[in-house]
């Protein structure tokens, strides 16, 4: 082992902690923490992280992990401090004016955010980009989908008062390849008062601008943005994330909609991360559904699935206005 690294790391953490917490305290006390004080702390953090990265392989893995955890904790406290002292407009950020001497291809100042990103493009000619859009008061099933490749992307946008039910009619006969639809990614945007009943998506489920919906889906990653009053029944093994969301409730994907092989898999407890609440206190923006609510909802959905209930009959499963 490289001795200098080892010796250094033994003194590294206490030293770093002392300096970093002093700086963070100072920043907190200042009437308005300045950009410079954040810069300072960030530079310190970068240096420390770099040294730790350099030491990889030179120190025991356990120690390495402990140091990484501590550094991440510092990063989080800096971020939350920055967030709490940042001027409000939520995601907009301004760039420093570029130095006069700087090489620059464009001087355009990009204001990222309140403007929603453009809606998905019109249906493309490739049948592996399946699009479902601009409908209201419909019960939509696989039979209503345009012809598509067996493996396809699915974009759903601008729906209101719809049920989108892409589950096989009977979960227990699912392994039939012809009936099988393999969704590589789900993009949903601007859905209001809708219920989505979906099988497992191989990639991510990306959702934007949803209001009062129920989403039943299995996926590799779940990322929801700018949405309110959503119940999510989820089969997932990574951490689902929300950003700029309110009144979201999570529960496990109902067994009744699972294929026989999915039923045998055990999934970890759902561990949500709220990117709009990066601090130690629990996020006020989501909760875990109670068992009663979860069972009641799953039963209502199973009934709807069997009898193709319209959304009006289902209105009591959506969260109230």
């Amino acid at each position: 082992m490289d001795n200098s690294k080892w010796t250094f790391l033994q003194t590294f953490t206490p030293q770093f902690q002392a300096i970093a917490s002093a700086k963070i305290e100072a920043a907190k006390l200042a009437p308005a923490p300045t950009q410079e004080s954040f810069q300072d702390i960030s530079v310190l953090l970068s240096k420390a992280t770099k040294i730790l990265a350099d030491a990889t392989g030179g120190i025991p893995t356990y120690d390495q992990r402990q140091y990484e955890i501590q550094l991440k904790a510092f990063e989080r406290s800096i971020e939350s401090l920055r967030a709490s002292s940042a001027p409000k407009p939520k995601f907009a950020f301004k760039r420093k004016a570029p130095n006069p001497g700087a090489v620059a291809t464009s001087t355009a100042q990009v204001a990222v955010a309140p403007t929603p990103t453009p809606a998905p493009e019109a249906p493309s000619s490739t049948s592996s980009n399946l699009v479902l859009s601009s409908q209201s008061h419909k019960y939509i099933t696989r039979a209503d989908l345009a012809a598509h490749a067996q493996q396809t992307d699915l974009s759903i946008f601008d729906l209101e008062h719809c049920v989108v039910d892409l589950l096989p009619p009977d979960a227990s006969d699912a392994p039939d390849a012809k009936k099988h639809i393999s969704i590589s990614a789900l993009h949903a945007r601007n859905l209001t008062d809708c219920v989505l009943l979906l099988p497992t998506v191989e990639g991510s489920a990306l959702l934007h601008d949803m209001t009062r919906c129920v989403i039943v889906v299995g996926c590799h990653q779940f990322r929801m943005h700018s949405s309110t009053k959503i119940d999510v029944l989820l089969a997932i093994s990574s951490n689902p994330i929300i950003e700029d969301c309110k009144a979201i409730r999570f529960a496990q994907y109902p067994d009744i909609f699972k294929t026989p092989s999915e039923r045998t898999q055990t999934l970890p407890t759902i561990c949500v991360q709220d990117f709009s609440h990066i601090r130690a206190t629990p996020s006020p923006n989501y909760s875990t559904m109670t068992d009663d609510d979860r069972v009641g909802l799953a039963d209502a959905l199973a009934l709807a699935h069997r009898s193709r209930s319209s959304i009006d009959e289902l209105s009591d499963v959506l969260l109230p206005k």
């Binding site: 970068s46 730790l52 350099d54 392989g57 291809t105 592996s128 990306l206 990322r223 093994s237 700029d244």
Partner: protein, 202 residues
């Protein structure tokens, strides 16, 4: 021993590079790095903050920073610019709807002073998915040919199959090495043209 002494010592001892992986959320940055490192990619969560990977590539030690791309995190990208030798911009080639967003974020990074000297590798990821945009389509959608301030290349790849990941890294490491570790007169290979010809990886 102080902080700076250690840094200096390490710089002398080994040839190092610092690579910064950025891109929109869901592009596949973390998956690429885990795949390159031979780790399991089956249950990766969206990155809250950043990850660091250090690994050897040829004669070089790469310090790779992978920073989360979710919208709330993008304002923090600038905290990681310092001493970046190369920027690796990862694109989800199947996400047609967000190409515009992707282009804007990339072009605004390229105006940053602290990234001024960095080489740029654009990974057109998720090529295994049917209906993904090709590298040529992405090159145009992101308007890469207009870039004159950075040497760049676009590389099709798939983090899931592993296709072209190593060769992409080779390009960027060689490009940085040509700048950092050989002077132009003693360079064993001729240095690449001022800005690399837009090319395809395969």
């Amino acid at each position: 021993m102080g902080l700076l002494t250690i840094i200096r010592k390490n710089r002398e001892k080994e040839k190092e590079m610092r690579l910064l992986f950025l891109g929109l959320d869901n592009a596949g940055k973390t998956t690429i790095l885990k795949k390159l490192n031979g780790e399991d990619i089956s249950s990766i969560s969206p990155t809250l903050g950043f990850n660091i990977k250090t690994f050897a590539h040829g004669n070089y030690t790469l310090n790779i920073w992978d920073v989360g791309g979710q919208r709330t995190l993008r304002p923090y990208w600038r905290n990681y610019f310092e001493q970046t030798d190369a920027l690796v911009w990862v694109v989800d080639s199947s996400d047609r709807a967000r190409m515009q967003d992707c282009k804007q974020e990339l072009h605004s990074l390229l105006t940053e002073d602290r990234l001024a000297g960095a080489s740029l590798l654009v990974f057109a990821n998720k090529q295994d998915l049917h209906g993904s945009m090709t590298d040529a389509e992405i090159r145009d959608a992101l308007d890469l040919p207009s870039i004159t301030t950075h040497r760049w290349r676009i590389w099709s790849c798939s983090a899931v199959t592993g296709a072209n990941l190593v060769s992409g890294l080779d390009w960027v490491v060689n490009d940085v090495a040509g700048r950092l570790y050989y002077s132009t007169t003693t360079s064993p290979q001729a240095p690449p043209p001022p800005h690399a010809i837009p090319g395809t990886a395969n």
